[in-house]
Amino acid sequence: MSLSKIKFNKKIVLSFWIILIALIIAAPSLLPVFRLNLLGRYLSLSIVALGVDLIWGYTGLLSLGQGIFFALGGYCAAMYLQITSSSEFPNNIPEFFALYGVEKLPFFWEPFRSPVFTFFAIWIIPALVSGLIGFLVFRNRIKGVYFSILTQASLLVFFNFFNGQQKLINGTNGLKTDVTELFGQMVGSESMQRLFFWLTAILVIGAWFFAKWVVKGRFGNILIGIRDDEPRVRFTGYNPVIFKTIIFSIAGGLAGISGALYTVQSGIVSPQFMTVPFSIEMVIWVAVGGRGTLLGAILGAVLINYAKSLVSEALPASWMFIQGGLFILVVTSLPEGVLGWIQGDGPRNALQKFGFKRKIETYPSLEINNKEGNNE
């Protein structure tokens, strides 16, 4: 992975941050409520994309089951919201239980009465589940394609389980959050949504710095080593299982946070979050944005989803064609993604194709070799 060749100086970086923060603060008053809500949702999706980038872009593990952890985080948040605003319903339990004749709260709902527990559960439960799945898979040196297929199978396991259990978690209908209350306010109300938007924006930036910290230094080097040549990492004396499990569980935790934020902003969590297409889409955001570039994951998630909503409003049928074409295009011609292409020598090579001469930095012969090396 070539590092960014463009070196920003400090002033530009500082002004970039000031503009970004100003935009985040001003966004609720600039955008209509509907668009703001969409932007907030897509920003929360970019957190799960960061996780996918960590495991796929940096460690080379293509997980098709991130939807599990995303939905788990969402369910944790929704269960807390449902249970705290269930005081007016019979038996003090959420309304939907009455539909199936359940009178006693299932045992695993009990801890969600506590906000502190929920705060931790949102990211620890997905992280634990992903750590467990990851450990079981990595321990046997199942990797590459088999890992992808197994994660997809686990996704289906969770989907079928959540979809079928009406009496425990309302099955296929999911849990609604927009009419529940938090701090005495409706979660679906405008002021709450504005708060959630700010929270999401802060957490996206936080997650970005966290991911940067994770891939920096020795730990990050080992991750990249695992991606490029795992046996060699093993022969050098590192145990890849530990590193892979840790990074997979970090990605799971990020997915959980993302799912919780997405749930409170979209107003519902349902097993639809665990469908196969949704999890593959997460991978595509990263692939388009640029795998191995953290900013690419965020931009990919936000921009593709925005494009999706705009295109679907105008021409509902054409989005599937565009999306499918995008996958094929990115995989066959832009394997590094858009940001990777820009950071590499993409634009200059493209200009060269249109007849613009390349600036020669050293000897011409070296430059030619170098160019071929980049194309490989």
Binding site: V276, I280, Q323, G324
Partner: protein
């Protein structure tokens, strides 16, 4: 005894659908290392081919032969899915050999496009398009060698594509004007009705079996036997096996690996089409029909061990019988007075979706002990 037979038959019936669906995948994935997520959509194309064939055979000219349409549609489905697969290989997959994760993403894109294509293009014109693809791809190969070797071959090729396009448009409009059901695009599910000789039940050893299920078992049996014979007895089969074992060496010895790739992928995709015929007999056909099978198929291939048809057979029948045992709660009827907690657990899993949960969980546990499946490929590489 009757219960056992019933259970066995149901299991074999479920397993044979899985097997015929996974067979093509086992070839494409096992022999070429390509993860074809569009496999389910190729099955869907096969199912739609059955539907189109059925409607065309209802036309007055072909009405007398209506009863045989299902046999012909197996052949048609093989050709249609095979040709789409070959096109896929020639345009996309070829660039991605050796990087299975990339093929996974690209073929997912293809599957989205195929799904939406079926939704928004009238089936009549879809048929026309496929026919022109078939002609365009195969007409140049039938030219005499004198033309093939001449310097103007590309012009001949080009004119054959023009001819193909014209034929496609013509057949498309003929079909759309004669069969009104095919002239409009619709996202609704369609139904394939089996011909009268396939309806009803057959009694074997005192138990009644639906004939469509038997038909699926027969289709599966024939496909497995045919593909085994092809791989083990024919010259091209030998070349395919050679390329699988050592691509570079085969290339050096004069085997055209390019052709081998096309043939392997074409056959794998064609088998998906045959599976589509089987699927269309089971329920209604819609754009999403393939998605229900794809993950199950991959599990069969992984469980059986990659690159091994015998493993695929065992794995699919194993999964089929287990699904029936768990999903129908048969363990309870075999052992009626088991302890309460155990019977509660079994009842909990005795639905189709929960049986799936159980099966996948069992497979994941099984892979803990045999990570490379039932019949692993032996090797001494560090990667194995």
């Amino acid at each position: 005894m009757e219960l056992l037979l019933d259970s066995l038959f149901n299991g074999v019936a479920i397993g044979s659908v899985l097997l015929v669906a996974a067979l093509g995948l086992a070839i494409v994935f096992g022999l070429m290392g390509v993860i074809n997520l569009a496999h389910g959509e190729l099955m869907m194309l096969g199912a739609y081919t059955t539907y189109v064939t059925q409607l065309i055979f209802k036309l007055p000219i072909l009405k007398p032969y209506y009863n045989s349409y299902i046999i012909l549609s197996i052949f048609f489905a093989f050709v249609v899915s095979g040709v789409v697969g070959i096109l896929l290989e020639k345009t996309i997959i070829r660039r991605l050999y050796g990087s299975p994760l990339e093929t996974l993403l690209a073929t997912w894109g293809v599957s989205l496009i195929l799904q939406q294509f079926v939704r928004s293009v009238p089936l009549a014109y879809g048929t026309g398009l496929v026919i022109s693809l078939i002609i365009g791809l195969f007409l140049p190969t039938t030219f005499p060698s004198k033309i093939k070797e001449s310097i103007n071959f590309k012009y001949f090729k080009f004119s054959s594509w023009i001819f193909a396009a014209l034929t496609g448009v013509l057949t498309g409009s003929v079909i759309s004007s004669s069969v009104s059901k095919l002239s409009r695009a619709s996202a609704r599910n369609v139904d394939v009705t089996a011909p009268s000789w396939m309806r009803g039940q057959v009694e074997i050893l005192g138990t009644a079996f639906p004939k469509t299920r038997l038909m699926i078992i027969i289709i599966t049996l024939i496909s497995v036997i045919a593909i085994t014979l092809f791989l083990n007895q024919s010259a091209w089969g030998m070349r395919i096996r050679a390329v699988t074992q050592n691509r570079q060496m085969s290339d050096c010895l004069g085997i055209s690996t390019e052709k081998v790739d096309i043939i392997t992928f074409g056959i794998g995709s064609g088998l998906a089409g045959v599976a589509g015929v089987a699927v269309s007999l089971l329920g209604s056909v819609g754009p999403n029909v393939g998605g229900n099978y794809i993950v199950g198929c991959f599990m069969v291939v992984v469980l059986g061990g990659v690159g091994n048809l015998l493993g695929t057979v065992f794995a699919s029948f194993g999964i089929g019988i287990m699904t029936d045992l768990i999903g129908a709660g048969r363990l309870l009827s075999i052992w009626p007075d088991m302890p309460l907690p155990l019977s509660n657990t079994i009842n909990f899993f005795a639905t189709t979706s929960m049986a799936r949960v159980m099966i996948f969980a069992l497979i994941v546990i099984f892979l803990q002990f045999k990570p490379t499946g039932l019949f692993p490929q032996k090797g001494r590489m560090v990667e194995n």
